[in-house]
């Protein structure tokens, strides 16, 4: 209608996602740091579990997701710290865009970053632990997408809260980790089924659990995020 009409929810989301990805692409510092952090975690796990390859192989699914989870805490905290420089968050709040678009955009950008991270460290894990994608790359990609969404959705909501609190580096994992346990279990189990084959045909069910988790927490985050940003 008039020129002052606010942008639609999806339109605003798209603009904000592009803004975040562009910011990421221009510096690439955050993505690089994340990849090195995750690789260091993988190496540490390999040393801690010892040189026994059967143990490494059996733990590979869990190792992958713990590396991604630990790196995600850095990524999530950073994604809001960026906005607080030069009070960019206040600028976004003043914009006519919906706060929920901001949630969708931030979560999506974070999820994309985590998917990329997973794809990069996967070959390294395969080499370190001696695993192969028995089920093929398709199922692995699905697990990676659903798992990254599961971390990024509630993670973005909690990062928005903890970034403005005291002791934010302690608070984010304290809030986020217990919440993510079901998703972590599902993603790790599904990943090991991709690595080792699926005798009892459980893969679909773990994916279902992961998808259900995504839907529950993305919906709740969508509804509640505007309350986190107001005031």
């Amino acid at each position: 209608m008039s020129a002052g009409r606010p942008p639609s929810l999806l339109g605003a989301t798209w603009v904000l996602v592009r803004k975040d990805l562009l910011l990421e692409w221009r510096t690439r510092a955050r993505a690089n740091a994340l990849v090195f952090f995750a690789l260091a975690t993988l190496l540490l796990f390999s040393f801690a579990l010892g040189p026994d390859t059967t143990i490494l192989r059996r733990a590979a699914g869990g190792t992958l997701w713990l590396a991604i989870l630990l790196a995600s805490v850095l990524a999530l905290g950073e994604s809001f710290r960026v906005e607080q420089e030069n009070a960019a968050l206040d600028g976004l709040r003043l914009a006519p865009a919906d706060a929920r678009a901001l949630f969708l955009a931030k979560s999506l950008a974070n999820a994309l970053l985590l998917m990329l991270l997973g794809a990069v460290i996967l070959p390294v894990l395969a080499a370190l632990a001696g695993v192969t994608l028995v089920q093929g790359p398709g199922p692995m990609a699905v697990v990676l997408v659903l798992g990254a969404l599961a971390i990024a959705g509630p993670g973005t909501l909690y990062a928005a809260i903890s970034s403005q609190a005291r002791a934010r580096d302690v608070l984010l994992p304290l809030l986020l980790f217990p919440l993510l346990i079901p998703a972590l279990v599902a993603a790790a189990k599904a990943t090991s089924l991709v690595f080792e084959g699926d005798p009892m045909l459980q893969f679909q069910s773990w994916l279902g659990l992961l998808a259900g988790f995504d839907l529950v927490y993305w919906s709740l985050g969508f509804v509640l995020f505007p309350r986190v940003l107001e005031d």
Binding site: R166, L171, V228
Partner: protein, 249 residues
């Protein structure tokens, strides 16, 4: 029908009692505390002496009289926390925030006690202290989540932000509550399903009820006292700094 009626009356009595303890003089809380102590001592007699040993678990079954009430109180407290969180977001007020804080802490306390008692009970009956059974796992997650919730409340200095954000977190944590309660029905687990009076001997039901009322009285005292502590803090935070107050007089 009678069940629904019983629930409505129960909620009204507990809610009214809580309201009275919060608003009334300190002597009321002291009175209920004494009552709780009497109930607890007599409840221990019912549970340890008067109730018969179970035909399978023998005397170990007596742990039920403290484990089950503790878990009931934890469940009531976290449900109250959820209701306060939702109510706060719809219509903010300081009492709701204070009650949310109190119920989270009391729920975490009773939940932790109940979980440890269950673990002690598990060793002689199941043969293990802990198993990654759906019931046990989901309750452990809930307790850790509430520990995070209480940490959040400590780490935010601005009272209004603390209230809104902890309400958001309280709602998100609450997703786990129905999962705990129904986990023994939905999934196969090591933990047995909820008992009902028809599956428990009348003597044992009496001991359980007696202890449940003792725990309920304690729950009311704890919750109201913790509520007043939370209220006093927000009031201190809201009060003008001393210099301003002096200038005003």
């Amino acid at each position: 029908m009678t069940h629904a009626l019983f629930t409505v009356v129960g909620v009204a009595v507990v809610g009214g009692g809580l309201y009275a303890l919060v608003r009334g003089p300190a002597s009321w809380r002291a009175g209920v505390a004494v009552l709780a102590l009497v109930l607890l001592v007599s409840g221990a007699w019912y549970g340890l002496v008067q109730a018969p040993p179970d035909r399978e678990m023998g005397n170990v079954q007596r742990i039920m009289y403290v484990h089950v009430p503790a878990q009931w109180m934890a469940l009531m407290a976290v449900t109250l926390n959820f209701l306060c969180s939702v109510a706060y977001l719809f219509r903010p007020s300081w009492p709701k925030d204070a009650l949310a804080e109190a119920s989270a802490e009391v729920g975490l306390f009773f939940g932790a006690v109940g979980l440890v008692l269950g673990s002690i009970w598990g060793k002689p009956t199941w043969g293990v202290y802990w198993s990654w059974d759906p019931r046990l796992t989901s309750e452990a997650i809930l307790l850790v989540a509430y520990a995070g919730y209480l940490a959040l409340r400590r780490f935010i200095d601005d009272a209004e932000r603390r209230a809104v954000w902890s309400a958001v977190v309280g709602i998100i944590i609450a997703v786990d509550i129905p999962i705990i309660w129904f986990s023994v029905r939905w999934w196969r687990s090591l933990h047995q399903m909820q008992s009902s009076p028809s599956t428990v001997d009348p003597d044992m039901v009496r001991a359980l009820r007696w202890n449940a009322f003792a725990f309920l009285a304690l729950w009311l005292v704890f919750l109201s006292t913790r509520y007043l502590i939370a209220r006093a803090r927000t009031e201190r935070e809201m009060a003008p700094p001393p210099m301003v107050a002096e200038a005003a007089t």
